[in-house]
Amino acid sequence: MAVVMDGDRMGKTLTRIAHEIVERNRGVEELALVGIRSRGVPLARRLARSIKEISGHDVPTGALDITLYRDDLMRHAVGAQPVVKSTDIPFSIDDRRILLVDDVLYTGRTIRAALDALIEFGRPRLIQLVVLVDRGHRELPIKADYVGKNIPTSPSQSVQVRLAEIDGRDEVEVEG
């Protein structure tokens, strides 16, 4: 059990990603942030704040729930269905540069589901992927465009991202 990123480090990491986003997209007018529930949503909001500080522009922010697009629904031997939460994308994604935000990139299956879900809302100009942590072990050909921190893990370990908005404090911990 080890904390691999504390609150201070997380703040700096997100600021650095925000700078990279502004630099790589040469302007922010067409950008929009979409966070994947649960922890991608506060991360997207924080990135929007940083981008505003850097560029002075408000970037629209939405929330995406991917439960109904999961490839493992109905495949569980036992147990109730996962809880479905609301998707809230209060802007048109057509022709925008969409930054998809999640906390941990692991197998890539969540991102596959998110891409399917997102594309039903319109036809973005492009979609880029932002993750706070990339822990490896991909099962699909998916790669992040912006990574807060690469953390080598074994599949038996678990990576816990905690955010003040949901968990009361900011940190990333590797368990097991």
């Binding site: 109904l68 269905q81 809880v83 479905v84 039903e120």
Partner: protein
Amino acid sequence: MKKDLLGIADLSSDEIYRVLDTAVAMREIGERPIKKVPTLRGKTVVNLFYEPSTRTRTSFEIAEKRLSADTLNIAVAASSVLKGETLADTAMNIEAMAPDMIVLRHASSGACHLLARICRSKIINAGDGMHEHPTQALLDAFTIRQHKRRIDGLKVAIIGDLLHSRVLRSNVLLLTKLGADVWVSGPPTLVPPGIERLGVRVTTSVDEAVADADVIMMLRIQQERMQGAFFPSLREYYNVFGLTEERVGRARGDVIIMHPGPMNRGVEIASEVADGPYSVILEQVANGVAVRMAVLYLLAGEVEAD
């Protein structure tokens, strides 16, 4: 949840809230440009309707299609039922084609329980005789919650044909389970004996039932189920039990008026009330799709207990 949704009686309050919470997310899907998610892809749902129904059948079918299930509708008039086949035989024949779920509407109370016992498919009760209509009660609760943000502690008046109404039974079971103060009112000939044992207050005075009510729910006069003379005339019924603007005035200022449909205007409800600003009757219809999507989704993941 269990394999089947046969009635509100089988649901815990946690399970009811689970359906209502899930329906919030489902409602948003209906507001998208592409109103479809892939969740029930490859699942087959049979809508088996032994009684005429437009609203409920359409609502289930839209819900199934929005979840990408394959659906087919069997209406009684066009089937071998007319040739003398029993419900159990029809069900076993449908079952042999391996559907995942059967949505059943039947004129006999308990028909869904029979099917649930003999079928491996999941059974959803879309109304069985005078027994239960669970998805109607769930969509009513969803609509109340949308407007009042809670159900606990609300005064709900349910008025009309209490005797023949499965909507009444399911709603009473659900609303009392979630802590509402439920009043029912109707002609003494249409009040089932012992109804107060379900935890409701009974009165023959509509004025008393609606006084300071947060929610007024009207029930249809079901003439097709009435063989006897339960009241002198429809005119008389309207005068004594019809919901008029004057009666609505006795309720709370923010009262909502509900009706499960189809409405008999000028019998149980005045037209100006049905179309009034406090009427949420069409919202109930819209919410029906979201609630049925939630039920289909939650049941689809359940495995058979035995």
